[in-house]
Subunit: 309 residues, 3 copies
Amino acid sequence: MADQLYHVLGAKQFSRAELEELFAASKAMEEVVKAGGDRRHAGRIMTTLFFEASTRTRLSFESAISRLGGTVIGTENAAQFSSAIKGETLEDTIRIITGYSDIIVMRHTEIGAAKRAAAVSGVPVINAGDGAGEHPTQALLDAYTIQKEFGRIDGLKIAMVGDLAYGRTVHSLSYMLANFKDVMIYYISPENVRIPANVKRYMEEKGVRYEETTDLNAVAGSIDVLYQTRIQKERFPSPEEYDKAAGQYIVDTDLMDRMRKNTIVLHPLPRAGEIAEAVDSDPRAAYFRQAQNGLYIRMALIDKALGGK
Amino acid sequence: MADQLYHVLGAKQFSRAELEELFAASKAMEEVVKAGGDRRHAGRIMTTLFFEASTRTRLSFESAISRLGGTVIGTENAAQFSSAIKGETLEDTIRIITGYSDIIVMRHTEIGAAKRAAAVSGVPVINAGDGAGEHPTQALLDAYTIQKEFGRIDGLKIAMVGDLAYGRTVHSLSYMLANFKDVMIYYISPENVRIPANVKRYMEEKGVRYEETTDLNAVAGSIDVLYQTRIQKERFPSPEEYDKAAGQYIVDTDLMDRMRKNTIVLHPLPRAGEIAEAVDSDPRAAYFRQAQNGLYIRMALIDKALGGK
Amino acid sequence: MADQLYHVLGAKQFSRAELEELFAASKAMEEVVKAGGDRRHAGRIMTTLFFEASTRTRLSFESAISRLGGTVIGTENAAQFSSAIKGETLEDTIRIITGYSDIIVMRHTEIGAAKRAAAVSGVPVINAGDGAGEHPTQALLDAYTIQKEFGRIDGLKIAMVGDLAYGRTVHSLSYMLANFKDVMIYYISPENVRIPANVKRYMEEKGVRYEETTDLNAVAGSIDVLYQTRIQKERFPSPEEYDKAAGQYIVDTDLMDRMRKNTIVLHPLPRAGEIAEAVDSDPRAAYFRQAQNGLYIRMALIDKALGGK
C-alpha cells in the first residue's frame, strides 16, 4: 500500500519537473490564502508527530492544513510521548497512528526516521526534519523563494554562508539546486565547518559548479543570493576562535552596501546575531518572505499527498 | 498596518462606551453558545502562543474561537518553544507566526511583551497575561460579571481582598472600574502587600473614591462585591506571619452570614484555601459564573478583532 | 444535572445489552470512517484533559471526535497544568472546564478521579484511565475485538498472560467478559504478579470459570484468545528473576506454531519484547486491528454521550 502513497522524505526525491509543478501549486496556494482559505480537505485529519520541539515548523504545517479546511491532532513533545518512554519502536507507533489520520507530519531526532515511518505507514508521511538528516520542506521553501524572487533559478549565483558542515538546510538545498542549469554555488565557511565531501561529490556528479572559500567579502559583490545560516559556538575549540569566525560572516548594512541592488538575503531562521536587525527594512532582506513561503509550499505538498482538490 | 488592527493589550485602553458595547456583545454570545455555537468565523485560525502555561485561560480562548466556527493552532509551553531556546527575539517569532493565522492570543512572562508583539504583528494580538503586567481579558470578565449580576456598575461598593501588591488582576480591574460613576473601592490587605501607589494615583486622577484597610470584617456588611484573591506564602517573612495574615481573609460561611443578601463573592481562580468549599452552594458565590463569563467576553473580543459576523 | 449525562467511568457499568448496542454502533462507525467521516457533531467541542501523558489514547479520542465533525481543545501534560500546580482541586478545575466544551475526556494519575470529575461536571466525562484504577475504553475495545474476530464472546477460552497484578487492562476486561456466557479464563502469570483476589471474587460471584497457572505452554493449544501484556522489571526482586519470568511468556513463532489456526493474539500495546516482531505477519496477530478498533469504540461512545446523530 505504502508504494502508492506520496511521501515527502528527502530533497533528492524531487525532479526538476516535480519542483516546477510544486512551485506552480504553491503559487496557487497564495491565492487560496488571500481568499481566506478553502474547505477542500474538510474532514481530513493531519497528525503532527513531533518527537522534538519545532514550534515554527509545526505551526506552519498546522496552518497549512487548516487553510485547506482540514483538522489537526498531534503531540508537540517527544518527552511526553509515553510510548517512546515505554520503549515502543517507531514502527509500532506509526502502525497505530496510521489508523487515526489521513496524513502524518513527523519530526524526529534520528536520521532516517521518516523513511522508517513511511515504510510501515498506511498514509502519506511528510518529513519535518529527522535529526542531522533531511528537512526537505525547508529546502523546498528555500528553492521556491529563489524562484519567486527572480522568476528563475537557472543561471543564478548562490552563496551559502556559515556552518556548512552541520547545517542540514544547506545540504538539502544544494541537492535541490542540482536540478537547475548553470547554477554557481559559493560555499563560504570557517575552515572547521566546511561543506562535507559527500555533498561536493553529489554536486560534481550532477555537474554543478561550486567554489569553496572563507572570504565572504570577495564574493559578496557578484552573487544573486546570500543564504545565511547560524554558526554554533560549540563547534569551535575556544570562544575566541568562535568570535573570530562568526564575526566574519555577519550580514549588516555595510555588507548590504557592497552587494548588488537585486541580491537577496535568505536565512532559514531563527537567527541569533548573524543578520543585523538594521537589515530588515532593506527590500533585499527576503527572509521573512521566505518563512511565509513555507506555508504555501506545505499547503501544496499536503494537497498533493491528500489527492488534490 | 498594525494601527488599524484591534489589539487587546491593557485594561486602560477601554472607554466606558467600549465596555458597554463589549458587555452587550458578550451577552449576545451567551445566546450563541446556548444555541450550540455558530460558524461565523469558519476558516479563521487563532494561534495561541503561551510562553507560560495557563491552561484555564488558554482553553477559554480556544473554546471561544471554536464556538464561532474557527480553528486553533498553538503551543502550550514556552519551554518547548525551540526558537525561544535558540535565542530568537519575540519580534522575530511574531513576524513569522503572523503569516500563519488571523489572530494571536499570547501569554508571556515579561511585562510589555504583548505590546511588543502587537507592534510587529500583521494580525490582531490579544494579551492573555504578560508577567506582572496586564491581564485585560480577566479584568473584562470581572467587570462584565459585576455588570451582569447587578445590572450596573455605577454606584457599587467593591472590596478587593488579599494580595493587592502583586495580584495584577486587582490593578487591571481598578483601572476598568474607573470608567464608572460613584464606585467606592475598599482595598483590604495585610500591611506588606498593600495596593501600589501608582494604582492609587490613577484612581485619584480619575476621581474614584477608595479606602485602604486591613479589616475585612469592618467592611463586609456594607459592600456589594467582595473580590477575593490569593495571598502567596513567599511574600511573607515567616510562615507564622503568613498564616496570621491569610487567616484573616478567608471567606467562609461565618463571613457570608455577616454580608448582605445580595453581596456577591468573586475570585479570579484558582483558589487555594481562601474561599471555603462550604460557600460554593450559596447563591451569592458568583466565582464559577464569573469563570463562565470569560468565555463570552473572549468570544466578543475575538469577534470584534476578526471584524464581526 | 449530572445524573442524566452519559459518563463512561468503569468497566462494570456496562450490561450485556449495552455492550451489544455499543458493538453494533462501533461497527457502524467503521463504515463512517471508510466513507471519510461525517459532520454529525460539527460545532461540538471535546476537552482532552490529560494529567498524565498517553499520546496513543489521546490521539485516538481526538481522531474519533474529528471523524464526527467535532473540535478538540485540550492539554497534553499535567506538569503544565498551572492550576494543578497552584493547588486547585480537581473538582474546581472541572467546574470551570465544564463550561468550555460538550464532553470531557480525562486521564488522571489517581484512582477514582474520573468519578470525582463526573460528580461535578455539567457535561459527559469519559475516563481515559485513572491511575491504577480503570481504563474502560481499553476494555471495551478489547471485548469488541474479540466479538468482531469470532462473531461472539460466549463460549470462548481466553488466556490473559503476564503481569496480572498491576495491569489494569486485564482487570477491566475480566469484569466486562463476566457479562457473557460460558467464558473460560486462564490467568497465566509469574507467582509474584498473580491476578488479585478481588478480581477472582468478582468472577466467582458472576459465575465465570477461571484457572490460574504459571504455564502458558500447557494451555496455548486449547485457547481462542491469547491476551498478552507487559511484565515490568521493577516488580521483580532481581534482574535474573525478571528475565526468567518474562522469558517464559514471550509470544514468538514457536508458540504460534503450537496454537490453533484461529487463536488470536491481542495486546493493549505498547509492547516491549513480549511479542516477537516475526509474529506480526501472522494473520492471527490481531493487536494492530485491536488498536484500530479503539477508534470505532471511542466514536460510538462519544456519539452516544453527545446524543447521537
